[in-house]
């Protein structure tokens, strides 16, 4: 367990960066910075759509065009959903069927940015979401990151990571073509070995294409995308549930010298904890369940705490779980499983942004970052906490109707 001296940080954070007149000041009983630390009695100062200062208890905030002050309120960064299929067609319809590896396909081109799912995410506190391409292909394509702005989500990174699946997705229901009408299921691969073989072939291309005189295995459009992954320009995001799949991802990237990658959707990360630590690879934990030994597939709620203690860079993501839990429910579960409240919030904000490579812009309420924030009625780690206000880029984009009524 890491110990943080919260008070010291609070004083350090009392830095006001001149960035024009502040447009919004939010006073909070507590502020989660999003990196695991919290500041009691903090004020968040927003100017130009960015965080311009985080002030401690002892510093009076400047006057602003609007001030939000709700008793007992706790402020967090806007949540970052690191794996989602929101806005994509349901079922298998957004899987490009032409090949097993379709690295040139961009999720952004398939996403319906006005899909009501974005509003649902926003209402649960999520301000940034990473949308993945389909997971029925070995390499499905390139994911993108969007802000859940009302009416239509706004892309912030169009090409975020190359999405590779080692899990069951690509093999599910596949079978060899033996007469009859060919469908998307009459194709390779049909086993995990097959999936990994296909990935290995792709990664050889990725490694080789950047060397002089390489004879391309893949057509240009696929090859070029893979080459970018080989150079580390486009990180590879794996989906790997089981320990064997996690190890396979590490092995593949070591072989091909893929410099930047991460592993998501993990259920058995705890079993591969030493390898993850050694490889310094960040992980996204998939759905969590309690102590239930029922039929559901998910990690245990104590996994986040254990990975954190082991020093593995991790974050929580809902993945493709659609059982009705929200991202915040996952953080609460991790907290229940023993993870400190500040770090549990960070697991769905700052850590999630870091794992996805979005930490330059979102995930924490640090000076200069996008002013994406949530105001909760009490600490969000309490299940009785209600989202009162959500803001993106300094603009209030959602207000709980009862909260706004209260304001008047």
């Amino acid at each position: 367990m890491r110990f943080r001296i919260v008070a010291a940080v609070a004083t350090l954070c009392a830095v006001l960066v001149a960035q024009g007149a502040p447009e919004l000041v939010i006073k909070a009983r507590r502020l989660h910075v999003g990196d695991g630390t919290t500041i009691e009695g903090a004020s968040l100062v927003i100017a130009g759509g960015k965080v311009s200062a985080v002030l401690g208890k002892d510093v009076a905030p400047p006057s602003a065009a609007e001030t939000i002050e709700i008793a007992d309120a706790v402020v967090t960064p806007g949540l970052v959903e690191a794996e989602s299929r929101v806005g994509m067609l349901r079922g298998d319809a957004d899987n490009e069927e032409g090949r097993e590896t379709t690295p040139w396909v961009r999720a952004l081109d398939g996403v319906d940015r006005a899909h009501p799912g974005f509003a649902s995410l926003l209402h649960s506190g999520v301000t940034t979401v990473v949308v993945l391409p389909g997971d029925r292909n070995v390499i499905g394509g390139v994911s993108c990151a969007l802000k859940t702005t009302p009416d239509a989500a706004t892309p912030i990174v169009e090409e975020l990571a190359l999405h590779a699946v080692i899990g069951r997705g690509p093999t599910a229901r596949n079978s060899a073509f033996r007469g009859g009408e060919p469908t998307m299921f009459t194709r390779r691969p049909t086993t995990r070995m097959g999936v990994i073989a296909e990935l290995r072939r792709a990664f050889q291309e990725a490694a080789g294409r950047n060397q002089p005189g390489w004879q391309a295995l893949y057509p240009e459009r696929e090859g070029l995308a893979l080459a970018r992954a080989g150079r580390g320009e486009l990180p590879v995001a794996f989906v790997a549930q089981e320990a064997a799949e996690i190890l396979a991802a590490i092995r593949l990237c070591t072989e091909a010298g893929i410099p930047k990658y991460r592993i998501g959707g993990t259920v058995e990360s705890l079993l591969a904890i030493d390898d993850l630590k050694a490889a310094k690879v960040p992980v996204l934990l998939g759905p969590l369940f309690n102590v239930g030994n029922g039929p559901e597939k998910g990690g245990a709620i104590s996994d986040p705490r254990r990975l954190d203690q082991a020093g593995v860079v991790f974050a929580l993501s809902r993945g493709t779980d659609d059982s009705g839990s929200t991202l915040l429910d996952l953080a609460r579960a991790a907290h229940r499983g023993g993870l400190d409240a500040g770090r549990a919030v960070a697991a769905v904000t700052g850590f999630a942004a870091r794992v996805c490579g979005l930490d330059g812009r979102v995930g924490t309420l640090a000076v200069g970052k996008d002013a994406d924030f949530c105001v909760w009625s009490t600490d969000p780690m309490s299940p009785t906490s209600r989202l009162l206000v959500a803001g993106i880029g300094g603009r209030i984009v959602w207000r709980d109707s009862s909260a706004s009524a209260k304001k008047e």
Partner: protein
């Protein structure tokens, strides 16, 4: 030969195990029946709560739990679920003669989890995808066989106002048909004395089966059972209330979130209702075209309708009754109402308000020693007690200790 009534069989079943004595000391008490008490003792004798107060004296032979710094509350009551069954719905429409007795599997992980989570009174009932689903049963989650687990054998029969194919009028016609049939059966039965000679050797299986399938409905009409009627829309509530009035049977409503519009009608009934695990309705405002979220428990509370909450194990939050209660607090319902909704009101909804759901002298000694406040989100059941007997201890729970590393109360 008189046809044996199957439920008579349970009469010989003694109450659960041998009821025991227990003293819980120095607890912060959430009795539900009244305001919280900062520090007190609870004494259980013969499985019943004998006394509550500070510094209670008891024999040295009585086991003592020191609950200093911990919270004691009544065990949770789940007023309706289809968990623990092999399958929830029969694929025929009218099956009052089936019983969950024959479907409960005591080895299901659901019961292990219930012990761990402190849910000690569970009303298991058939699913709502039929017209008449069958009879339910109130059980506790411990026991080798269903008979051991049983608290109340046949308290309920499941009705559904929601047709699988969408014609609600046909659904009503079928319910009416079954009730008319039962009414006639009851009248005929009462009119005709039993004239059959004893010692008949021929066992008329078919007749027996037909009689038996009518028996449940007859008992319902005789107010020996209660219909648990599932309603998804406000109109279903209107119909369900009208039908119960017309045929004169007892009824509890199990409500989907869309029924919020009928809250006024429910308020007039002054009966507790059961809210299904999905509590919020996403609707489109017909005037503005914007989505609106309707929170059924908040509306029921505003109208003064007592309600019980339920849970289902499929999702992270909705699987816990305490989480459901916390969610209701998030919707603006007072904390005491929310906690009652998973204890006392739930017990009342299944007719056990006199024995379960609160810590009061004379009630069953079903209680939980919690590591923290029930709604904190980090609260664990340290000790679980059913009728004075300790049925769960966190420090000896292999799964909590070894798998999660949460057995010691330090995390």
């Amino acid at each position: 030969m008189r046809i044996p009534r199957p439920f008579v069989a349970f009469a010989f079943l003694a109450a659960f195990v041998s009821a025991q004595d227990l003293l819980v000391r120095n607890a912060k008490l959430v009795p539900i029946a009244g305001p919280d008490v900062a520090k007190t003792d609870v004494l259980i004798r013969d499985g019943r709560i004998a006394a509550i107060g500070e510094g209670l004296k008891a024999d040295l032979s009585i086991p003592v739990i020191d609950a200093a710094g911990r919270t004691v509350m009544p065990a949770y009551v789940l007023a309706g679920t289809t968990e623990g069954l092999d399958r929830a719905n029969e694929n025929m429409e009218i099956t009052p003669y089936v019983s969950v007795l024959d479907a409960i599997d005591p080895t299901r992980p659901f019961f292990d989890d219930s012990v761990r989570d402190g849910v000690y009174t569970i009303h298991v009932m058939p699913g709502s995808r039929t017209v008449i689903g069958g009879t339910g049963r109130v059980i506790r989650p411990v026991g080798r066989v269903v008979e051991d687990m049983t608290i109340v054998p046949d308290p309920s029969v499941t009705f559904s106002m929601v047709p699988p194919q969408g014609n609600r009028a046909t659904q009503m016609a079928k319910l009416r048909g079954a009730l008319d049939d039962a009414k006639r059966y009851l009248e005929n039965k009462e009119a005709a004395a039993d004239t059959r000679p004893s010692g008949s050797v021929k066992l008329d299986l078919e007749r027996l089966a037909i009689e038996r399938r009518r028996e449940t409905m007859a008992r319902l009409l005789k107010k020996q059972m209660t219909a648990f009627t599932y309603c998804a829309e406000p109109g279903d509530v209107v119909r369900a209330l009208a039908l119960a009035k017309e045929y004169g049977y007892q009824q509890r409503l199990v409500l989907g979130p869309g029924t919020w519009k009928a809250a006024d009608l429910l308020a007039a009934e002054k009966q507790p209702v059961i809210v299904s695990p999905e509590m919020e309705a996403e609707e489109t405002d017909p005037e503005t075209g914007k989505p609106v979220r309707r929170e059924l428990p908040a509306i029921l509370h505003a109208k003064g309708v007592p309600f019980a909450l339920t849970a289902r194990p499929t999702s992270l939050g909705q699987r816990y009754l305490w989480y459901q209660a916390a969610s209701v607090v998030r919707m603006g319902v007072p904390r005491d109402v929310a906690l009652r909704a998973v204890t006392l009101t739930a017990a009342e909804a299944i007719g056990l308000g006199k024995t379960k759901g609160s810590i009061e002298a004379g009630k069953d000694g079903d209680l939980l020693v919690l590591s923290d406040d029930p709604l904190s989100g980090r609260s664990w059941v340290d000790v679980g007690v059913i009728e004075g007997k300790v049925v769960y201890e966190r420090r000896t729970d292999r799964r909590m200790v070894e798998v999660l590393g949460l057995g010691d109360g330090k995390n």
